[in-house]
Structure formats: structure tokens, C-alpha cells
């Protein structure tokens, strides 16, 4: 079977086309979805892409979390569908209470864009199974509101239950508490992170590696993982 993975476009989404392209490169069929509809078009998995939906008014991701299609997204999350929130998509998932915690302005107040090293902390989720626990990867990071926060007790719970999916390695670029770059829900089907796997899927367009400039494709494994999860669920 060919997995069908939907990418929801919101007003102000920037990376929806990049996410569609990454899905195609990984061998699945990308399906364009629209925030104003109530139709997920029967997709097997979902990506909420990066950008600045609604100009980041109110709070980043807050207004998008109230979009019509989000009621279907919540139902799909509850039914176990793999859902990935990237950057602004991660902010939407926390605002929609599909993932715990919150994201605030970077501690240094500035937009940041860098190729970021991450450590994979949980390699059992629908979006990380193609990694190994402790593996280090490099994918681009670019945001203004990337500081992950939660209460001390919530952070302890996330650590204790293995819900920290990714941690910043080398440097903490934005003041995120406990270096958290991405988290998963208990079931492992909903994952959100600030860095951008969809920008590291094709040689010539990814981060630099020691082998060659722009040859990094560490983002591919996110989509490989989801495709494997969809195929396994269908079997």
C-alpha cells in the first residue's frame, strides 16, 4: 500500500509545500488539506506544518488551534493516527492540548535559524521508530517562539514517562527548559518539535555534513517512521 499523508495548510503556513515534498520523497502520497474544512480526505497520517499562522496573533498557534479542521484532528489523534507538528504545527498541538506544555518567545528575543543537532530520546513513537535511542541528528531550526516550558512537576512527569522525544544537543538555541526540542503523547502517535525535518530530506538541500555540503537527510527517518506505522496498522 502507499500511505496517504495529509498536510494541513493554514493562513500563514510556510512549509506546507516542503512537507508535501518530503512525504513524496519518502515514498508516500502527500494530500493537501485545508484548515477551513472538516474533511481529512481519508488520510492515514497528518502533518501540521511550520509557518506563522494568523500572524502568530494572540499566541503562536493559538488561533489555528481553533480552526474548523482541528476538531477532526483531535478525533484522529484520539483514534491513534500518526500526527506530526513541526514548529508552528507543534505550537498548534500544544494550544489544542494534544501535547503538554507551552512555547514562548526565545529567551534571547531573536529569530534564530541554524542547523541544529538533536538527540533522539524516544525512538518508539510513530514518527521516530526509524531512529535509535540516543542517536544524534542534524536538521534545520528556524523560529522566534521556540522556548519550551512547562511546570517543574510536568517536566518531571514528561521525563519519567519517556515523553521527551528530542533534546537539543551541543547548544540550547532558545532557552527551552531541560533542552526539550520535541515531545510525544503517551500513545506515541502525536509528536511535535520545533526543528524542521522536512528541510533535511534530499541531498543538495539539507544541512552540511562532514561528507559534503548540504547533504544532510536526517529528516527522512521521520517520514519513514510514519509510513512504517501506517503500513503496520493496515496489516
Amino acid at each position: 500500500m502507499t500511505a496517504r499523508i495529509g498536510v494541513i495548510t493554514f493562513p500563514g503556513s510556510l512549509d506546507d509545500r516542503d512537507a508535501q515534498r518530503a512525504i513524496a520523497i519518502a515514498g508516500a502520497e502527500p494530500v493537501a488539506l485545508w484548515h477551513g474544512s472538516h474533511d481529512l480526505d481519508g488520510v492515514d497520517a497528518l502533518v501540521l506544518p511550520g509557518g506563522f499562522s494568523y500572524g502568530d496573533y494572540l499566541r503562536a498557534g493559538a488561533i489555528a488551534a481553533l480552526a474548523p479542521i482541528m476538531s477532526e484532528v483531535k478525533d484522529a489523534a484520539a483514534a491513534g493516527m500518526p500526527i506530526l507538528g513541526i514548529c508552528n504545527g507543534f505550537q498548534m498541538l500544544v494550544e489544542a492540548h494534544l501535547l503538554p506544555g507551552g512555547l514562548i518567545r526565545n529567551a534571547h528575543q531573536q529569530f534564530i535559524r541554524r542547523d541544529q543537532r538533536l538527540r533522539v530520546e524516544n525512538a518508539t513513537t510513530a514518527w521516530t521508530s526509524a531512529f535509535t535511542e540516543g542517536q544524534e541528528i542534524v536538521i534545520p531550526l528556524k523560529n522566534a517562539d521556540g522556548g519550551y516550558i512547562a511546570s517543574e512537576s510536568e517536566l518531571d512527569r514528561l521525563e519519567g514517562e519517556g515523553l521527551v522525544a528530542f533534546r537539543y544537543a551541543g547548544v540550547n538555541p532558545n532557552g527551552s527548559l531541560r533542552d526539550i526540542a520535541g515531545i510525544t503523547n503517551e500513545r506515541g502517535n502525536v509528536v511535535g518539535l520545533m526543528p524542521h525535518p522536512e528541510h533535511a530530506v534530499e541531498e543538495g538541500f539539507g544541512p552540511d555534513t562532514t561528507a559534503a555540503m548540504r547533504s544532510g537527510i536526517d529528516g527522512r527517518a521521520f517520514f519513514d517512521s510514519a509510513i512504517a506505522a501506517v503500513v503496520a496498522a493496515a496489516a
Binding site: 481553533l66 528575543q109 522556548g147
Partner: protein
Amino acid sequence: MPTIVVDVMPKAELLDPQGKAVTGALTRQGVTGFTEVRIGKRFELTVEGEVDEALLAQARQIADDVLSNSVIEDVVGIEVVE
């Protein structure tokens, strides 16, 4: 027309990067009387007619559910201004 004013502040225990930037700028200006600046949000909800208890309850509800995110912010005031 009456207005319901909702004030939202970043949680006291969390870093407020915007406030910190303003604090730094004031210090550089030679302003010394203030040890900290914190920046919040003020929402003005315009009402047609009377503000009754049901409308206030609705304002409190959206203040908690939409206007603020309890993970990062607190609603610090809801008042009616004529």
C-alpha cells in the same frame, strides 16, 4: 458602551523575554527606579447593552480558554469599564 477588560500576564515564575529586553533598555537609558518590567496583554471586549452575570461568566470562560494559555499565562483581572 460598557467594555469588559481582561488582563493577562505571563506567569510570574517564567522568564518574560520581552519584559527583560525593556528592563535592559531602561537601564541603558539611566532609568534606575524600576527593578523589573513585565509585559502582559489587555483585551477589551465591547458589549452592546447591559453587562449581566451570564455575560461576565462567558467573559471569564473565554479568558481562560482562548485569551490566555494557563501553561504560560495567568488571567490577572476581569473588570467592567463603563
